[in-house]
Symmetry: D2
Subunit: 361 residues, 4 copies
């Protein structure tokens, strides 16, 4: 109700301020008897860490502590069975330096939630953005990685960077996904990747930052997933994506561009040979999965924390010069991919569990 | 849970098949003592009716019957006070001709929910699309009109057509909104409106259809509206918009285009004179309203029901030629505006009610 | 959220004031493809009607109008298949005489919700108690009858009067349930029934009323039904029962009397022959069904509307003499049985649907 | 949805197995800016600990670790302000000895959730009952103590033992509540207390156990608290109480005994002098608080873990002799009081937050 829980059957509740003792979550509604490889979760967490030349100075912070919901005994492959009870987990915020943030107590950073949280709550934890920090998304990645294991290998959820700093990759249909992990910006089009990297470097040197577009596809869904009317599959996926920090737009299939097509072009009608060649709908018709890949694009605004001087309001309403110190990414999209995938996995797993009620005992 | 309820405090549950006895809804959580002008609701329903040369053959269908939640006595201005109990309403489907749909029993119309509903439920009411019909949105318009009256005049929610059939209006910041109601396609840029109208006519004559983009703005919101993390204001608005039939994308502020900006351009920083000149964020920062207008764009795919011959699957998996009879809009955007506004009003009213919990007694 | 919705997967939302246009409900989450005999629902509604010498003057009021969620075609036995979409239904309040209630506008009847609704909402529909009237339970009976058909014949839910006006029946284990429908007070112990009837008649003649205890048993449940911790099976059954007008207590198995037993007496341990002879727990252990009959008792306070003169507060805070006119039951328990069974059926059907998530795909 | 979350606005989600790494909870929807004395929470936790001759061997286990939702700075009285974000807390299970439970792996203890959890989930954590252990209630006590501080001193919630091992205290109206804390069994009637204590000792020596009845009263509520129909104040209180381990019944006001009264006796009508002398309703009329004390009784079955030999099913369906080792309470009621009060505090705080939506902005 107060915004920290996501899902209907499979419900994730997250908690934690960026520089408080810990961030974490409780995943309830997870079926029992699922063998969980906790090592895979660490891999997902790795994908969310800072990359590139900077190294990974906070690596130790992100080790996940499992608090409940797993059978105490591991199987022969080291996997733990889910108990059907809430799976609670926690990540300590061990490497925090509160003093870094003293300067921000009385200033509202542009593009950040400082002023809006202050208005809503009357107070806030200023350290690292408190609850509004993207550090919160670590809990989503953990839960999403559990959801992926619930889904199993038949459902593939994969995201990559399609556009960054104004540079567009070739169409996803032409991608070799294996290239994604070769690209420092997680773009499978390696030529575009190099250009993105170079442009982002230039922006970073100027003390500025970039945004971009993530492409996500979900393969292997059964027909009819999603609920009618308000909980259409793309409506719940959309809410999930728009709940990620910095996301400003989401579209399915042809999305905004598809609005320019004619009906006769956009309808994914079969050919005479019984195959459907197009996927303008992005795999969802009437709010339910139609058997073709679910495809979506997610727009991220450029990173709000920039090294460049800016003007900002102070808490007493004055305008002052603001300089944001500390290391900040000039492009967050590569690290956002596991978050995007996590939200998709949570939505799909939830929809699959909910789907069970539509079949007779 | 099964997809027919929207909202957290202010909860709308809708029901009804397109050609069943009635469609309707129950709006629960509506505060007591609000004077409601039921005539204004009829005006909103009028905006949702078919327009243009075709006339309004189903006008009588859409009269709203009020079943509960209103005090029996009207005040001097004919208004009824809300009781604080569920407001139930119903619209009869009186003008239905089931025989029109016999031909569709065994065919899955491209772009429609026929195949997906069949897969999900194992059966469906084929008449007019049953539950998947956009007729369901009439219940949203009624509830949204109630929500608008709860919000009162200080909150302005208005939508218009910004792009249709590939034709783009001038930027909304340059619009004279009074022109919207002069335009048959509800576009305040009357030059673009004429071009849209002409292009849509051409498509209609060819048995084809168009899509487009709706621009929506919400003025007068207090600071701090929305909930953190999963129920960010734009996440709940996004879910609401994506739950409307034919919507394939939603973006806030600069949205997808904003992904190409630099951080220093996108941050809505104040000027030295203490004013903020830009609104790249679209009025929402960190998921909460920031005091500037909330702006969004909603992409509608072209109408799926086209007069042109198409190929389609039949229920036995064969491909057959399909001809859809009956009168269908070639562009639904003008009629969709009250639906878009209704979903926005429901989200905003819900957020305002929820906001109350954050203040001490 | 505002109290008019019950259930998690199978969700019933009800609406309506006693003397408003209609009362009704929307049952969402009902699986598709269930053949529904609507005639059986009318039978349940009959059980809820006034009995005895008074006849059934409002019989015509209680015909159920089905608004959605049912396939238009009936099967060979006249049954309609559920569509999986919300099942909406309505019962008109046709036989209302608003003038009967003018006298009650400014008085708060003892034992009724008059004063508390006025305090909560600031206004109310005084006619027949408005939303607080037990007429609201008609919607529960309709929905409960649908839930019973979803459960099918393997689950038996049956309630009877065990105590009324201070007269106690023999233990339910000794009942011949077939006698229940022979008893004007719905008590299978016909000797106790005669005594109850006589005592209630005496109270009625004195302008007074009686309360009593309903015994409910649920047979045929699978093991493990219910959810742990907060949604234990008896916690949700308890909420359901306590939500019925006039209910003041609920107990499971030995309940309050069981609190006096020793652990060695209360534990339903097996005998050496492998059978369990006792059911002190009332069929629920650790919050989940244990395979034995679920048994509960529900305490109803005496009817608040009595013909006898009483003192009452008027709306301006004065004490005045109150005379309640109109025909009122001196004992409501017989008519309450279908309501009790309906709430049980809704809880059990919901629990069974929810149970499905605990099994792997 | 899966049973581990309680409340509507103020939502508590708990997690944890008895002998897993930790138990804990997340309390969401807690308003911001409330000064919280964390020391008081420790006092409530103390009330839940084992008492009497046995000492407190697990004292160190129950220290609460605060993970989020509190402002980092304490005020001059050492209190922390709530941030309005989720308050997460954790209690380590440090003193666990898994080997104690090896013997229980293959046996289903009578009166415990062993067999039912096994049936529901297909596996379970056998150590100390896993998720079904009453250790879970520690999280409720923490959250309830926070809710009490939200309610402030104007609302008094207090519980005491009214009956234990078949021994009845004098009526609560005659109690000196200060005596409660002098009584080892938390019964304010010290004569009854001595008899209870002696009887419980006798049962303990026999390897047996006792149950009893808790009396709870809530003072200082405003008029009109609760929601109509399904979420009546006593329905939500009832669910809360019935969700506590070992609770088998709940009644309000005169409850089951009140079912024998006449309407003219039970109606809490005013006297001519404008006062109401009786409280048969237990402070709730029509589901909403009526301004008089809310009173309820909660029946606890006798403790299921007894030292005496019992028969029990083994997991392969055989009957075997069972001996339960380890220290177990012969009466849990005194330790249950903070749990009962905690559930009441959560329900009342939630109702008060929800009440805010009924008042105009």
């Amino acid at each position: 109700m107060a915004g920290n829980t996501f899902g209907r059957i499979l419900q994730l509740t997250t908690y934690g301020e960026s520089h408080g003792p810990a961030i974490g979550g409780v995943l309830d509604g997870f079926p029992s008897g699922i063998a969980l490889d906790l090592g895979l979760i660490a891999l997902e967490m790795d994908r969310r860490r800072p990359r590139g030349q900077a190294g990974t100075p906070r690596r130790e912070d992100d080790s996940v502590e499992w608090l409940s919901g797993l059978h105490p005994d591991a199987d022969s492959q080291g996997r733990r069975l889910s108990l059907g009870t809430p799976i609670a987990f926690m990540v300590r915020n061990s490497n925090t330096k509160p003093t870094d943030y003293d300067a921000l107590t009385d200033v509202f950073r542009p593009g950040h939630a400082d002023a809006t949280y202050q208005a809503k709550y009357g107070l806030r934890d200023v350290r690292g953005g408190g609850r509004s920090s993207a550090r919160e998304t670590a809990a989503r990645v953990v839960a999403g990685a559990l959801a992926k294991q619930l889904l199993g290998p038949s459902v593939v959820i994969r995201a990559a960077v399609e556009r960054a700093a104004g540079i567009q990759a070739i169409p996803p249909s032409a991608w070799d996904w294996a290239n994604r992990d070769l690209s420092p910006v997680a773009c499978p089009d390696l030529i575009a990747s190099a250009a993105m990297e170079s442009e982002v470097s230039r922006l970073r040197e100027e003390g500025d930052s970039a945004g971009g577009i993530v492409y996500l596809e979900i393969l292997g869904l059964p027909l009819g997933l999603g609920e009618p009317v308000f909980d259409k599959l793309h409506a719940t996926l959309g809410q999930g994506m728009l709940s990620i920090n910095s996301v400003k737009g989401v579209e399915f299939g042809d999305g905004f561009a598809g609005a320019d097509l004619r009906g006769s072009e956009h309808n994914d009608a079969p050919s005479l040979d019984g195959t459907v060649q197009s996927n303008h709908e992005g795999g969802i018709t009437g709010g339910l999965s139609n058997g073709r890949p679910v495809t979506l694009r997610i727009a991220f605004k450029p990173v709000s924390s920039i090294a460049k001087d800016q003007l900002a309001y102070s808490s007493d309403g004055q305008v002052q010069k603001l300089q944001i110190n500390g290391r900040h990414d000039a492009l967050v999209l590569p690290r956002a991919l596991p978050i995007v995938e996590a939200m998709a996995a949570l939505v799909i797993a939830d929809a699959l569990l909910l789907q069970k009620i539509h079949f007779r005992q």
